[in-house]
């Protein structure tokens, strides 16, 4: 077994190579007819191989390793009933369970809206059958002392990234700002387009920003020693497991401790809830904690491709002008290449053209254009997964090929980011102002740069 996030069970793999054909970075290796392996160096951990794999542990195969042994090898609960597939991701379920039982720890969890909307699928019901409040209630029931909605906390990422966009527009260089919230896209650029690293926004992704907040301002606010905070993030994504372990993502002032101690996928949260015997459908809804940020119009941001572009563009005018301004009309049009949509807005003296791309392969023509010196766009958003985060590698695994696309469309419809209506300015929001006034002083300032921003490094591939 390698150390990578994504693993292929050598006993279960039938060498059909569907995962390899689907891999955007050709990270699946192996001879024809032999079980395949993942090249950890190339792998961007998007987990689409997990979603496509259909080789499973058949009860009719007497020669297989006993199921109990396989569950133990994968650190899965003995209570797990579902079939086990050849491609899987490493998990830290046992760590989370132990932390929840540890009275010395203050457990803080953040949960993404894509998780809340899709998790009913793993309980045999249609996506969207549970309210976010019921998911919040199940997190509290599991024992988490604080439970936040990641998307609402994304306010800080959006605000910081909008500041970065404005600064780069004002300087008139290093454009486009390439959004850095998809960890698979970031690793892809680091290894395949290292010359474009400085185009990446230095802002951390929303769940890292939230993790950083938990262990700094959040802990202080709750009167908790930051060292006792155990921070968990529930995401639709397997690549966030890699991101949370990056050396750059250490909590401020804490030797070696992570901003996000444990990442759980949507599927893994369902395992925890089932293992704990919680009747998620019978729970009365509870509210997510709102003391760090509560911005209703951000509830479904970061769910589908284009959401970040909309939120950042929408926030940029409030940083450029002081007067009242009617909401920007941000409408996407299909680009000429597959999986990409473009939009353009006028903000003060700037015409900002933006592109949002789903699928790493679909991003290549745009990255090549930047490399060739073309300056068409001011902002670029890349989502590694086919329909953005709703189709992430950690989402409920749709069993049949013909059901995948309809399921992804359903999830996307349920979490569509509202582009119209009342969108109060993020920077004028009371909770956001409190965080800045009480802790960071100002957006894109020294302290926020130290805690909410990061840097990237070229990754040289061995072959």
């Amino acid at each position: 077994m390698t150390d990578g996030i994504i693993q292929i069970d050598q006993e279960l793999c039938t060498a059909c190579k569907r995962c390899g054909d689907n891999c955007p970075v050709d990270a699946i290796e192996g001879e024809q007819g032999k079980p395949q392996t993942v090249c950890e160096e190339r792998c961007v951990n998007c987990g689409q191989c997990i979603q496509i794999c259909s080789a499973y542990d058949s009860i009719f195969d007497d020669n297989l390793t006993p199921r109990a042994t396989r569950l133990r090898e994968r650190s899965l609960f003995p209570s797990l009933k579902e079939p086990l597939f050849a491609v899987y991701d490493r998990n830290c379920l046992a760590d989370v369970k132990a932390a929840l039982a540890d009275a010395g720890l203050f457990t803080m969890v953040q949960c993404d809206s894509t998780v809340s909307s899709a998790i009913p699928e793993d309980f045999g019901l249609a996506a969207g059958s549970l309210s976010p409040g019921q998911v919040a209630a199940s997190l509290k029931k599991l024992g988490f002392q604080k439970a936040y909605n990641t998307n609402s906390l994304a306010a800080f990422s959006i605000l910081e990234e909008a500041h970065e966009l404005i600064e780069r527009l004002n300087c008139g260089r290093v454009l486009p700002v390439i959004d850095s919230s998809c960890p698979a896209a970031v690793k892809f650029i680091e290894q395949s387009y290292p010359e474009l690293i400085h185009y990446l926004s230095s802002c951390k992704s929303p769940h890292q920003v939230a993790g950083a907040l938990f262990k700094s301002y959040g802990a202080k606010r709750s009167g908790i020693d930051p060292a006792s905070v155990y921070s968990v993030s529930v995401v639709p994504c397997t690549s966030r497991k890699f991101e949370a372990n990056r050396p750059e993502m250490k909590a401020d002032d804490q030797e070696g401790r992570r901003e996000v101690d444990a990442v759980l996928t949507t599927r893994e949260l369902a395992y925890l809830i089932k293992d704990a015997g919680i009747d998620i459908f019978g729970l009365p809804p509870e509210e997510f904690d709102k003391d760090l940020a509560d911005i209703p119009w951000l509830a479904n941001v970061y769910c589908t491709t284009g959401d970040v572009t909309q939120a950042v563009l929408h926030t940029s005018p409030e940083l450029l002008t002081n007067g009242a301004r009617s909401p920007l009309n941000i409408a996407f049009a299909d680009a000429q290449t597959e999986g990409a949509r473009v939009t353009s807005v006028r903000v003060d003296q700037y015409d900002i053209k933006a592109v949002a791309v789903s699928g790493l392969r679909n991003a290549i023509p745009f990255l090549e254009a930047i490399k060739a010196g073309k300056r068409e766009f001011g902002f670029m958003e890349i989502r590694a997964c086919p329909m953005g985060c709703v189709s992430g590698g950690g989402q409920p695994k749709v069993l049949l090929p013909q059901d995948k696309l309809p399921a992804y469309i359903e999830r996307a419809n349920l979490t569509s980011f509202c582009s119209a209506g009342d969108r109060n300015k993020i920077s004028e929001h009371a909770a956001v102002q409190q965080v800045y006034q009480g802790y960071f002083k100002k957006p894109y300032g020294d302290k926020s740069n130290r805690i909410l921003h990061t840097q990237y490094a070229e990754r040289r591939l061995g072959h």
Partner: protein, 194 residues
């Protein structure tokens, strides 16, 4: 006299099959009491009625041929296997799990599988007092029913990403072969002319 219609059956093309097992999953899901859309919603092992076989030379699913003179039906002492609407079907209520059909099938297309009522496993009468003893669940014969009653036909055929499976209508298949032979004869004759 017009010939009676031969039983249709599902057949796989080993040239196209990659061994991914999607057909097994589609079969298992199609026969679930509570259909699972996702892996997480599946609350037990998959119980497919076709089996992907792998050897160094070939990868292909094996399934029931809906035999005209079905050995499984012949050997069944309980008259639990019969031909209904062109399908060889098991009446699980009559089956006692004697396994003769499993032994008689030339393709190994019959398996004995643990029985459920809803999500609750069923235990044989003789072991009622030992319900915790998972090793002694009630097993009964299970085989391909061509997804009888399913609108879109056999689930395995629809789900195969390689389009390696087809529902064969034997009469139509032999007419197609006849036609192909006729065309190839013509091509052959053209060769002589030249």
């Amino acid at each position: 006299m017009k010939a009676e219609r031969l039983n249709s059956f599902v057949l796989a093309d080993s040239e196209k099959c990659t061994g991914c097992k999607t057909c097994e999953i589609a079969c298992a899901v199609a026969h679930m009491e509570q259909k699972a859309g996702t892996a997480g919603a599946t609350d037990g092992p998959f119980m497919p009625r076709l089996y992907v076989m792998r050897t160094p030379e070939v990868t292909v699913p094996v399934q029931c041929r809906q035999c005209e003179d079905a050995p499984c039906a012949i050997v069944c002492q309980m008259s639990a296997i019969s031909r209904v609407d062109g399908m060889i079907l098991v009446d699980t209520e009559r089956c006692v799990g004697c396994k003769l059909c499993l032994m008689a099938c030339p393709f190994g297309a019959i398996e004995l599988v643990p029985q459920h009522r809803g999500t609750k496993p069923i235990y044989p009468g003789a072991w009622k007092e030992q319900e915790d003893w998972i090793g002694r669940r009630l097993y009964r014969a299970n085989k391909c029913d061509l997804c009888a009653g399913r609108d879109k036909g056999p689930a395995c055929v629809l789900a195969c990403p390689q389009k390696a499976l087809e529902m064969v209508n034997p009469a139509a298949a032999s007419r197609k072969r006849n036609l192909e032979a006729a065309v190839s004869l013509l091509e052959c004759a053209k060769g002589f002319d030249a």
